[in-house]
């Protein structure tokens, strides 16, 4: 029997936590001499107030869904993949190599090929840490941290020494061919006769991300593989008892995780920049950790958390753009949201449980 109704646990608690985080943020904003009300209004207007704002919010959401899912899948196998950042970088490399390899006639051909490239490169970058963990017991947290640095070096090298066209300043690859440009949601909406999200970077990848959520949900809760991943994650001796091979599952889970992180590149590299730039990932790999943990490693939770972070990113971007509030405030707000909804959630949950127990007690009496 649970201590309180499910809705209270999954909706009420995070909501109150979020309000607390916002309240503290407001105090911080006041302390630096700005108006919290204006800030909130700017953020909400900017991120959710127009199809334009949504277009950006959903673009960021897409990035975070992929990195969040990546962390979540590994987490179910009790592997803490801090390497999303590096895997996403490599995913970008994969996308760039494929997009630039052929004069793609149409995106519908380029997209699947690029997805394969992104996923393969991302997965490959997760493979070595996975294999080392499974076979040699090398701690995956260290190896994935190291692989983030190595990925940055590799990407730096590839862009500066190999992919950069001569005569440009930019440490970036050449622009992708026209046929590798992904349809933006704006265009897709326009095709349906709706004017939506003009000039925003959100693109078809968002839909792929939603599909990825569903597929990951199916994988984790409906397939044998997911069952085995979860079993291994909860208890290795039990997994052995059930005939589940820890090495195999560890490697597979990390490959999927790395592949998902790599797929993020479809959104930012192929969908937005349409070329590979240095630092394309911009920390989304690390945000993915927060997204996964806050989303309780459930794809739907990941989606909601990614949306929240997409909102914070876009709303925060608007703040930085249109008010005199420094952009670092956004980082503080993000920190507070993560802290209150993710780590201090029991501060809200415990008293709530007591209230619900007391209410139930009365109900019975």
């Amino acid at each position: 029997m649970d201590k309180m109704p499910k809705w209270a646990d999954v909706i009420l608690t995070p909501l109150i936590s979020l309000i607390l985080a916002m309240a503290i943020s407001a105090i911080v904003i006041l302390a630096i001499g700005e108006s919290p009300w204006l800030a909130l209004k700017t953020m909400i207007d900017g991120a959710l107030g127009s199809s334009y704002g949504w277009g950006y919010t959903l673009y960021y959401t897409t990035n975070f869904i992929f990195t969040g899912l990546a962390v979540a899948v590994a987490y179910h196998a009790s592997l803490f993949n801090i390497g999303g950042e590096g895997q996403a970088m490599l995913g970008g490399l994969g996308v760039a190599l494929i997009a630039l390899a052929l004069p793609w006639p149409h995106w519908s051909l380029a997209l699947p090929a690029a997805m394969v490239g992104a996923a393969l490169f991302g997965a490959a970058w997760a493979l070595i840490p996975a294999w080392l963990q499974a076979r040699r017991g090398s701690h995956i947290v260290i190896t994935t941290i190291m692989f983030n640095f190595i990925a940055a070096a590799l990407l730096n090298y590839m862009l500066v020494n190999i992919l950069k066209p001569a005569g440009t300043q930019d440490p970036a690859s050449a622009n992708f061919p026209e046929g590798a440009h992904l349809p933006q949601l704006t265009e897709m909406a326009a095709a349906l006769g709706i004017e939506w999200g003009k000039n925003t970077p959100v693109n078809i990848t968002f839909i792929i991300a939603l599909i990825a959520c569903i597929l990951v949900w199916l994988l984790i809760w409906r397939t044998r593989l997911g069952y085995e991943i979860r079993a291994l994650g909860r208890s290795e001796p039990a997994a052995l008892y059930a005939g589940i091979s820890p090495v195999r599952i560890t490697v597979i889970a990390m490959l999927i995780s790395g592949g998902l992180a790599g797929l993020m590149a479809i959104n930012n590299v192929m969908g937005e920049a349409e070329r590979l730039v240095l630092n394309a990932v911009e920390g989304a790999g690390f945000i993915g950790i927060a997204v996964a943990l806050m989303g309780r490693n459930h794809p739907f939770g990941v989606f909601l958390a990614a949306l929240l972070f997409g909102f914070l990113y876009q709303g925060g971007g608007e703040l930085a753009l249109w008010t005199s509030i420094p952009r670092e405030l956004i980082v503080v707000i993000q920190a507070l949201v993560i802290l209150f909804t993710g780590a201090l959630d029991n501060m809200v949950r415990m008293p709530l449980e007591r209230i619900f127990l007391a209410l139930r007690g009365k109900g019975h009496a």
């Binding site: 911080v28 947290v141 993000q334 993710g342 201090l344």
Partner: protein, 321 residues
């Protein structure tokens, strides 16, 4: 590579490893008590900021040091609140603390100094200077030992010596004192400590406070020892490297010394040889920069076995569900 070069590289390694060592030992206290800490980075950053600010304002590195410890401890307290009192997720709390420090330092810095998060540069009085050990100059000419003493052992900031002393001290505290026994026990099996009549909460807070203190030293060393002021994000991932070193060291103090030295040494070598000419090919600078990380993975895979964390690590101590 001649002897002088070796001494120079080692000397550089010592400086580079010091913040890592302090942060690594900080993590060691926390994680040995069962509280995982990926917020070392944030605590160091906050400490670097508060240390630099106060050292600038007062002209005293010592007051700066205190402030650094204070800043780091404040974040440690938040971590304690989240992971001990409210039994929250320690990883999330650590992530949040890193974000918080990265945002708050710039926000406060900009508000106070208006330099976009930088603090003004510290003048010499506001920094920890190099300590020349007695007879360093006189002994320099003694073959082998002379340079080792004069150029390698002598001539570091006081915090370097403190950091190195912390290693035997930590070992002693952990394995020779009552506090250490309880600390190790609470990281392995908090229920055993609880049923022995000792408060798990108090012990864990104590270790987290020590963690805060050591991160404070590390941050202060970065801002007021190695450089002359705070620059945003100046920890540059050292907290994560320290974490890696901690796992590498399997949560043991002497091994922590070794692991952080290895990181320092590899970085010093990469600094010294920005692009290594092997005759056939020249290794580009990017890969020399990544060399410490690549070698870490290789060493980890080849020579270091499974690292088993403290058994109760990462889990809050929940008696009643």
């Amino acid at each position: 590579m001649d002897f002088a070069t070796i001494i120079q590289i080692l000397d550089s390694a010592v400086r580079l490893m010091t913040p890592l060592l302090l942060a690594c030992l900080a993590g060691l206290y926390s994680e040995r008590s069962g509280v995982f800490d990926i917020g070392l980075e944030g605590k160091m950053l906050m400490a670097a900021f508060t240390a630099a600010s106060v050292a600038y304002a007062t002209g005293s590195p010592w007051l700066g040091l205190l402030a650094g410890i204070g800043g780091s401890m404040a974040l440690a307290l938040i971590h304690g609140l989240a992971s001990i009192t409210f039994m929250g997720n320690q990883l999330i709390s650590g992530v949040a603390i890193n974000f918080l420090a990265s945002g708050m330092t710039v926000l406060l810095g900009q508000r106070i100094f208006g330099l976009g998060g930088r603090t003004p540069s510290l003048t010499d009085g506001g920094r920890f200077g190099e300590i020349i050990l007695p007879f360093a100059d006189a002994l320099r000419d003694v073959p082998v030992l002379g340079p080792v003493y004069a150029d390698l052992i002598s001539g570091h900031s006081i915090l370097v010596y403190v950091a190195f002393l912390c290693v035997p001290l930590t070992w002693w505290v952990l394995f020779r004192t009552r506090f250490g026994l309880r600390l190790r026990a609470v990281g392995e099996n908090p229920a055993s400590v609880d049923t022995a009549g000792v408060s798990v909460t108090r012990l864990r807070y104590a270790s987290i406070a020590i963690c805060g203190l050591l991160c404070g030293l590390a941050g202060a060393y970065l801002a007021t020892g190695l450089s002359a002021g705070f620059v945003k994000e100046m920890t540059a991932g050292r907290g994560f490297i320290a974490l890696a070193a901690l796992i590498f060291a399997k949560w043991r103090p002497w091994s922590a010394l070794f692991a952080t030295f290895l990181f320092g040494l590899l970085e010093a070598i990469a600094n010294r040889y920005p692009n290594l000419d092997l005759g056939v090919i020249t290794i580009p600078s990017m890969f020399m920069n990544a060399l410490p990380y690549i070698l870490t993975v290789i060493i980890l895979a080849g020579f270091v076995g499974r690292a088993i964390p403290p058994r109760a690590g990462g889990e809050p101590y929940v008696k009643e569900r």
